[in-house]
Point group: C3
Chain length 158, copies 3
């Protein structure tokens, strides 16, 4: 039976998210069964660009205005400087012919990595299934996470 | 023998701490033996609200003034905006009838999750055992952590 | 066969890096085989103080100016306040006769912990092997990390 890796993507910092996908790709390349569990800010990584919140109560609407989805919006955890730092990193990645995050998401999906969106956070933030990228096929809560993680050789919280 | 999960709570960001307790609750519900090891800023989560530092040398006193305990003080890692973001999240949790952090601490404790406070950080910051919530029964250093973690199926650093 | 621990050091926050080395020391003391895998900002921890970037294209040069190496430059993840917070922590550690980070790096190395620098990030940031501390003997990418981690009882992302 193949080994397993389960990665919680909690952060939406571009640098951390790139690390998460690199590790997922590495594990999938080594024939591991990989699950990425997106929760909290990490949900923004797998949301469509124009997706808003579906629940129109004031609080979630207000939160939806500041907390937008789309992989091209992500910031660096350090030296972001209003996007300059994130731009530098993207330029460096282009020059070295490294794939951009958008391509990494699709490569990772092609290699059979399972993307799961945390339903508790989706409820909290008023985000619908329709707002998610088509690559996201699983929707689940903490019980599913624990089930996967307790069988995994590699567990990370990113 | 039941499976084990060991979670280091290093952060005191409200969002990350909520994730830590959610995972702990999920693991305990799945009959795992769960240990939460609170260190560095994470110690603030399990400190009583009015607790100060006990050691009165200048450096620790100065640090104690800026670094206060109490679960109601925690900030968001993003969009905190002077407490507005944290307030929004709390309002959303209330509306969805999700338990507040304070209740989660007591639920987690009731389910048999073991809370351990890191003695090295307590010494560093001049915090006494008396400053801790009554739920905290274990006080230990890294050797105890390693012993637990090396037997755990799930290890996370949050 | 001895148990293994593999720690990704992604962050260069002084507090998190201290935690990483404490855990590494604790695991090595418990006879575990420990690997620390330094990537992204974490590379700064094991870079020589005066090391610059070797690649002189504009983007990496610009990034090298803001992103400097050396363990004495690290900041706190909270309350850094232009270095005041980091200074307070260092003073407290001195008073309690705790080893400074520089000594922890050499102690950890003496105990046989393996330091690996992530070659993908080195390439991205234009950092040469010569820029690394002499303690760093391994240079590798994600495949090596996955190989180690999938055999490890303790896996952490810090």
């Amino acid at each position: 039976m193949s080994k397993k890796a389960t990665i919680i993507v909690f952060s939406s910092d571009l640098d951390k998210v790139l690390a998460a996908f690199n590790i997922a790709l590495g594990a999938a390349s080594a024939q591991m069964q990989v699950t990425m569990f997106f929760t909290f800010w990490g949900l923004n990584v797998i949301r469509k660009k124009k997706s808003g919140v579906s629940k129109k109560d004031f609080t979630r609407k207000a939160f939806g205005i500041i907390n937008k989805g789309g992989e091209n919006r992500l910031k660096l955890s350090r030296f972001n400087m209003g996007g300059v730092g994130a731009g530098l990193i993207k330029r460096l990645m282009d020059r070295l012919k490294m794939p951009r995050l958008k391509e990494m998401i699709s490569m990772t999906n092609d290699m059979g990595v399972k993307f799961i969106a945390c339903t508790t956070t989706m409820e909290l933030m008023g985000i619908d299934k329709e707002a998610m990228l088509p690559e996201v096929k699983g929707f689940a809560g903490v019980a599913t996470y624990i089930d996967e993680a307790s069988q995994s050789e590699i567990n990370l919280f990113i």
